[in-house]
């Protein structure tokens, strides 16, 4: 299989403290990977590096065949259009409707009016909030807001979907629903990487798990298959 994400000896320091230390791993196309670790383990730093929001101090990162560490600033937006991102705090624009929030990545790319309408409707339907088109994010529940955020991240058909603590603000029932949603997106062919510190998520996912402890890659295993190296 092809590696869609590849980290080679990646290290990053924040104020002389190692946020990531010599991390090397690959994620294949179409995989569903859980990035586990306590708060401060380096999960968010790693995800930010995958969309070039941060640069490693050492090592190389490849995403969809591109060396992220060597991208010119003008190339970064085009990488981000291929990698959808879901955040714990949703990052929705409060003064725009659900439809407009989800349409944003398509507007940025200059999609036609017809395409925008069709793709936004499909994405909202996929996350089951298509009936809340015209509402503002503030009128939605936290679970619904997270669904809108997911719809926005998949609306332009990214090859990779990154989610940073997507269930951090949700109760167990909503957490299970969101994980099911990610499974569904993954089943359609999108590579999904979910960073979480919540061990309950493991119960719902029979997938590959990468564990980070204080910036060090501690273990890689599949849930139910035992801990590997």
């Amino acid at each position: 299989m092809d590696a869609i994400i590849q980290l080679i000896h990646v290290s990053k320091w924040h104020d002389r403290r190692a946020a990531l230390s010599d991390v090397t791993f690959e994620i294949e196309k179409g995989e569903f990977v859980l990035l586990m670790g306590a708060s401060g383990a380096g999960k968010s730093t790693l995800l930010r590096m995958l969309i070039a929001e941060e640069q490693p101090d050492e090592g190389q990162i490849f995403v969809h065949g591109k060396n992220v560490t060597k991208l010119r600033p003008s190339e970064i937006p085009y990488l981000r259009r291929k990698v959808g991102a879901v955040f714990q705090d949703f990052r929705l624009l409060p003064k725009k409707s659900v439809f407009d929030n989800v349409a944003l990545p398509l507007i940025v790319q200059g999609a036609s009016e017809k395409d925008i309408r069709r793709k936004v409707t499909e994405a909202l339907r996929a996350v089951d909030v298509d009936h809340k088109n015209d509402q503002l994010p503030s009128s939605l529940s936290t679970g619904e807001q997270q669904r809108v955020c997911i719809a926005r991240s998949i609306v332009n058909g990214p090859v990779v979907l990154l989610a940073d603590e997507p269930t951090g603000n949700l109760d167990p029932e909503r957490t299970r629903e969101i994980i099911e949603l990610f499974k569904l997106i993954n089943a359609r062919g999108t590579t999904v990487v979910v960073a979480t510190h919540d061990p309950h998520v493991l119960k719902d996912v029979n997938r590959r798990v990468i564990t980070l402890v204080r910036g060090v890659l501690l273990a890689e295993h599949r849930v139910g298959e035992g801990v590997g190296g």
Partner: protein
């Protein structure tokens, strides 16, 4: 199309969200540009005045008293055949007295006690356009001065030169004040854009994370700057127009300098449009400066 609509709407939303800052920026820009406009108006009107003075160069050739009419006719012939002369008009002593009485009715009694008419006869000479330069005029005047029967030669070239010097100073002042106040307008609009940028930092982060290019993020702020500049400039023209009309009205009401109000002109439409465009350019520059100073990360 949707992208264009989005960018224009974002610029509009920026301005509406920061309504007070927007209004303050438009007003301060308008006053700064109105100050520049005052100098421009002064410059334009004085240039027009200098132009009409140049067109109306008349030389007064005063004649010695007690000259026979034959001698006067001879001098008139000499002047009329001069290639530098366009026209000659004779004003007799009686005509000069009549004109004085019409122009200065309250002072005409001063001449009553003198008995004999003290005003000299004269020729009003219009020089040909190609001989209206200060040097040519000076040479001609010096030549005529020595002619027999000529008492004195007067011409308004000195006024014209004085005006030209004054225009030069005003031009310099307009450039200096223009540069200074344009820089002020750029700073004012730049700060407004900066405030808008800081207020919307989170939104900019979101746009970046979904793959918006720098240009896409910046366009609404550029548009906002350009609109603020254009509005400020248009408002400054409104203020100036109002001031000019008020000035004209005041002159008419007081009755002094009567006739001058017709000579005071406002900018023609093409200059007004150019000034609005210049304001737009200044606003755009303000946004560019602000975006370069605040920056927006690696991408």
């Amino acid at each position: 199309m949707r992208r264009l609509f989005y960018l224009v709407r974002e610029a509009w939303v920026n301005m509406r969200t920061n309504r007070t800052t927007t209004i303050v920026a438009i007003l301060t820009t308008a006053f700064a540009l109105a100050c520049v406009g005052i100098f421009l108006l002064l410059y334009m009107n004085l240039r027009n005045a200098a132009g009409s003075l140049q067109e109306d160069v008349k030389v007064m050739v005063y004649l010695e008293d007690r000259r026979s009419s034959e001698q006067v006719r001879e001098l008139e012939r000499t002047l009329k055949t001069d290639r530098m002369v366009d026209g000659v008009l004779f004003i007799s002593k009686e005509q000069a007295l009549g004109e004085f009485r019409v122009q200065f009715p309250s002072e005409s009694h001063l001449l009553e006690g003198l008995g004999e008419n003290p005003l000299p006869a004269s020729f009003v000479v219009t020089l040909a356009p190609s001989f209206r330069s200060p040097d040519a005029m000076k040479a001609w005047v010096e030549r005529v001065q020595t002619m027999e029967g000529v008492a004195k030669v007067d011409y308004n070239q000195e006024w014209s030169s004085l005006l030209a010097g004054l225009i030069g100073y005003i031009e310099l002042a307009a450039i200096g004040v223009g540069i200074l106040l344009s820089a002020a307008a750029v700073t004012i609009i730049g700060n407004t854009t900066r405030l808008a940028l800081l207020a919307r930092q989170e939104e900019i982060e979101i746009l970046r994370s979904i793959g918006a290019t720098r240009t896409f993020i910046r366009i609404p702020y550029f548009l906002e700057g350009a609109v603020l500049g254009a509005c400020g400039s248009a408002l400054s023209l409104g203020i100036l127009k109002f001031a000019v009309e008020l000035f004209r009205q005041q002159i008419q009401l007081t009755g002094r300098f009567s006739g001058i109000e017709g000579m005071i002109s406002f900018f023609p439409l093409s200059v007004c449009l150019a000034l609005v465009m210049a304001g737009m350019g200044l606003g755009f520059a303000g946004s560019v400066v602000s975006l370069l100073r605040v920056g927006d990360g690696r991408a």
